[in-house]
C-alpha cells in the first residue's frame, strides 16, 4: 500500500465530517463575540484547576 492509496480516505473523512449541519448562529456568535469564547475557555480551565486541587486533596494516600 502506498500513501497515494489513502487519498480517497481523506476525501471520505472530509465528507463524514461535513455531514453534521452547522448553524449560522454558531458562526455569528464566534465572529461577533470572540470574548465569549475566551470567557468559556477560561471558565473551563478554572474548573479543571479546582477539580484537580479537590481530587489531589481528597485522594492523598495515608
Amino acid at each position: 500500500m502506498q500513501l497515494n492509496d489513502l487519498k480517497p480516505a481523506w476525501k471520505q473523512l472530509k465528507l463524514l465530517n461535513a455531514m453534521r449541519h452547522i448553524e449560522s448562529k454558531e458562526i455569528l456568535s464566534i465572529i461577533e463575540n470572540p470574548e465569549n469564547t475566551n470567557k468559556t475557555k477560561l471558565q473551563r480551565v478554572l474548573f479543571n484547576i479546582v477539580m484537580f486541587i479537590v481530587i489531589t486533596v481528597f485522594c492523598q494516600g495515608g
Partner: protein, 167 residues
C-alpha cells in the same frame, strides 16, 4: 445580516468538513477540537478582508486553519510529546484497520504536528511548492520530509502485510 457575513457563513458551511477533519487529526479531546474550530473560524474571519481571491478558497482555508492549529499547538504547554513515526507504533499493526479512513486516522495521529500538515496537504493533492507556501517552509524541507514519510509508511505497510500473511 450583512452580505459579507452571509458570504463568510456560506464559505464556512461549504468547507466545514475540511475544518472539522483538521481539528480531528490534531486533537483527540472533543473540547480541544471545539476550541480549535472556534479559533480557526475567528482567524478566517479576521483574514477574510485581506483574502483577495488570488488563491483558491480551499487553499486559503487550509493555510489559515493549519497555521492557526500549529501556532496553537506550539503555544500549548499542556501538549504531550507526540510519538514519532519511526518508533514502533503498535496501533498500526494491531488495530482493526479494515477501513481506510480508520487506517488514515491512525497513521496521521502517529505523526509529528508539522508532518501531519504535510501529509494532509499531500493527500489533498497539493504539490511540494504549494505545501511549502501554505506552511511557510522551504520547498526542500517539504520534499525531504515527504520522501522520508513516504518511505517509512511504505515500510510499515509492508511489515503489516507480511505480519498478516504469516498469521
Amino acid at each position: 445580516m450583512k452580505f459579507e457575513k452571509r458570504h463568510f457563513i456560506q464559505i464556512i458551511d461549504n468547507n466545514k468538513g475540511t475544518i472539522r477533519s483538521l481539528c480531528k487529526v490534531y486533537y483527540a479531546n472533543s473540547e480541544d477540537r471545539k476550541d480549535a474550530f472556534q479559533d480557526i473560524i475567528l482567524q478566517l474571519w479576521k483574514s477574510f478582508d485581506t483574502f483577495r481571491g488570488e488563491s483558491e478558497i480551499s487553499t486559503w482555508i487550509y493555510r489559515v486553519s493549519l497555521n492557526t492549529i500549529l501556532t496553537k499547538k506550539r503555544g500549548d504547554k499542556k501538549s504531550i510529546s507526540i510519538e514519532p513515526l519511526d518508533t514502533p507504533h503498535q496501533d498500526i499493526c494491531t488495530a482493526k484497520a479494515d477501513d481506510n479512513v480508520e487506517l488514515l486516522y491512525i497513521i496521521i495521529q502517529s505523526l509529528k504536528d508539522i508532518d501531519k500538515a504535510i501529509i494532509v496537504l499531500y493527500l489533498e493533492g497539493y504539490r511540494n511548492k504549494e505545501i511549502a507556501e501554505i506552511l511557510k517552509m522551504s520547498q526542500t524541507n517539504v520534499a525531504t520530509r515527504l520522501n522520508r514519510l513516504k518511505s517509512r509508511l511504505t515500510k510499515k505497510f509492508n511489515n503489516k502485510s507480511h505480519a498478516a500473511k504469516r498469521s
